[in-house]
């Protein structure tokens, strides 16, 4: 195939001009990185919220030191907040009469092992026994841990379907021992499969008693989040007020200062999600157009220099029979390879930046299919749109003029 030969020619040309290729890459990397950062960060936050939302009933709300951030002023204020501790849980349990159920949770990511198999980044939730009553997931097999399990810190675990599938395909998981990080836990139940969202499995979780969680991990670095259930939807506002008063007192918030914690209901999360989606779309359009222009100008500039500098080469190729399309394809390959590799690096870099940003908010993030597709589309598009002009210029050169170019 001629195309394959042209591809090889393009590769060696890029190798021969490393500095120039590197500079071009940089232009694309900057663009794609910014897009990736935005998408991943927003998606990570929206995803975390959506996950909770799906499992909370209408009379339920969640309390945590940080749940969401909508502006950068809030960002700097919120990351200084103190996490919610066990004392707060106790105060709410004792002092809030409209709180029918109070369920503290803690999170941690660990590697799970069963015999010689292991599964990385398993999401461990430590929760009290009433978690199963508040949050909506169905027990497929076995049972959820009981009040006694929690009281006696029993090392028992309720596993998500992905964990079961990975470790116990074709075997009965109940009663078997898996390792979460350093400690051993006995499997007592399996959750019904939830499927995946944005191409990510929702079944890579395990739940253990909160007491067992604290024994293994100590007080969670990310603090606790408390799920509270009011008796009815009508009691919701009242219940939230009671919790607010208790927490403000515990955390010594002066009367003229706003809360230093967040509380959301399923409904308010939905609102937030909608507004985030709006910001997200706007930001995406804005930033991707800037990045396309920045990256594109760099690509076009450098490809123009390259075409001019290689005028003689083009003349030589045409003199021995290269057609317009051969020259065009060769230079398009160069532009595309530059932008695509810049795009890939940008995707990785953007994800890492988003991860550390979202990490400061104590939230989880995974690479999102949407962000990767956007990054690849943008970089390919940049290569195509901004590479075509220099490539056409090269393809249309007159062989004689090109050969006599000094």
């Amino acid at each position: 195939m001629v195309v394959f030969s042209l591809f090889r020619i393009a590769v060696s040309a890029l190798r021969a001009h490393r500095l120039r290729s590197g500079l071009t890459l940089l232009g694309v990397i900057i663009g794609v990185t910014s897009v990736m950062t935005i998408i991943s960060a927003l998606e990570g936050m929206a995803g975390a919220i959506e996950e909770d939302l799906a499992r909370l009933g209408p009379s339920t709300f969640v309390v945590r030191h940080i749940i969401f951030i909508t502006s950068d002023e809030m960002f700097w204020e919120k990351i200084k907040r103190k996490p919610i501790d066990y004392k707060a849980v106790e105060l709410i349990e004792n002092g809030c009469e409209l709180c029918e159920k109070v369920c503290p949770r803690a999170y941690q990511s660990v590697t799970a092992k069963y015999r010689d198999q292991s599964l990385r980044d398993v999401f461990v939730t430590g929760a009290t026994a009433n978690y199963v009553d508040i949050v909506d997931f169905e027990v497929e097999q076995g049972r959820f841990h009981s009040f006694e399990d929690d009281l006696y810190r029993r090392p028992v675990v309720f596993i998500g379907d992905l964990v079961r599938e990975t470790f116990f395909e074709g075997v009965d998981p109940i009663g078997r021992e898996i390792k979460l990080g350093t400690n051993k836990y006995t499997v007592i139940g399996v959750a019904k499969k939830r499927g995946s969202m944005f191409g990510e499995s929702q079944d890579d979780f395990v739940i253990i008693p909160l007491s067992a969680f604290s024994r293994q991990f100590g007080f969670p670095r990310r603090g606790l989040s408390i799920v509270v259930k009011a008796p009815t939807v009508e009691d919701l506002d009242e219940a939230m007020d009671q919790v607010r008063i208790i927490l403000r007192a515990q955390r010594h918030v002066p009367y003229d200062k706003p809360d230093d914690f967040d509380m959301v209901t399923a409904e308010s999360m939905l609102d937030l999600l909608n507004s985030l989606t709006k910001i997200f779309r706007l930001g995406l359009v804005g930033i991707s157009s800037i990045s396309v222009v920045v990256g594109g100008i760099v690509v076009m500039n450098i490809m123009m220099v390259s075409v001019t500098e290689r005028t003689r080469e083009i003349g030589i190729r045409k003199s021995v029979g290269a057609k317009r399309r051969h020259v065009l394809i060769q230079f398009m390959f160069e532009a595309l390879m530059l932008t695509l590799s810049g795009g890939l690096l940008g995707i990785i870099l953007g994800f890492l930046i988003a991860k550390s940003l979202v990490g400061m908010l104590d939230m989880q993030i995974t690479p999102s299919a949407l962000a990767i597709i956007a990054g690849l589309t943008i970089s390919t598009g940049t290569g195509l749109v901004f590479g075509i002009y220099p490539a056409l210029k090269a393809a249309r050169m007159d062989p004689i003029k090109a050969l006599s170019y000094e």
């Binding site: 001629v2 021995v320 029979g321 290269a322 057609k323 004689i400 050969l403």
Partner: protein, 233 residues
Amino acid sequence: MIETRDLWKTYEMGAEKVHALRGVSISIDKGEYVAIMGPSGSGKSTLMNLIGCLDTPTQGEYYLNSRKVSQMNDDELAAIRNREIGFVFQTFNLLPRATALHNVELPLIYNGTTGQDRRAKAMQALEKVDLGDRVTHKPSELSGGQRQRVAMARALVNDPSLLLADEPTGNLDSKTSIEIMKLIDELHRQGNTIIIVTHERDIARHAHRILSILDGQIAEDLTVPESQRNGVH
């Protein structure tokens, strides 16, 4: 094989018009060995570029192997250059970063010859010009004469029906020039049609026919008697 009718080539330099060729009509048969001579600026290179399909005439017709070339578009000309014509330039025109082998492979790339086949053909062409032991050298690692032989191997690799050389010895010393001319003579003996542009009478006398060009017109068309020819034929 080659037939031109009233070829004109006019360059527009601002308001001024430069007529590089003013009505050139020639005909060259298959297997001929022709030299084109003339003073500097007389239009030799311009004519060669037209014959070599690197350029198109402003006016007039050109038939190559009975096909009308003068009205073809860029890509059709490229295909003809690739298959029918081997061009050797005064300044070699090799890719500086590529090895001799890759330079010779170049025309084959553009007609879709791949892999082993391409390599084998290029090797064969390099051996024909006696450079079988220099295939991995880059142009900067070769002498002038060797570079020109690489260029000739490249010109020959597609078995063209026509070999054109525009002052192939112009950048070479006399000893190397003789080597190159020997090679060209040999190619003619093997049946190739050859046209060569030169300033030097000695070089021109390798050919069997000399076209003299003056101010863009053919001034003289001479057959060189066998007794006056240079080289072995």
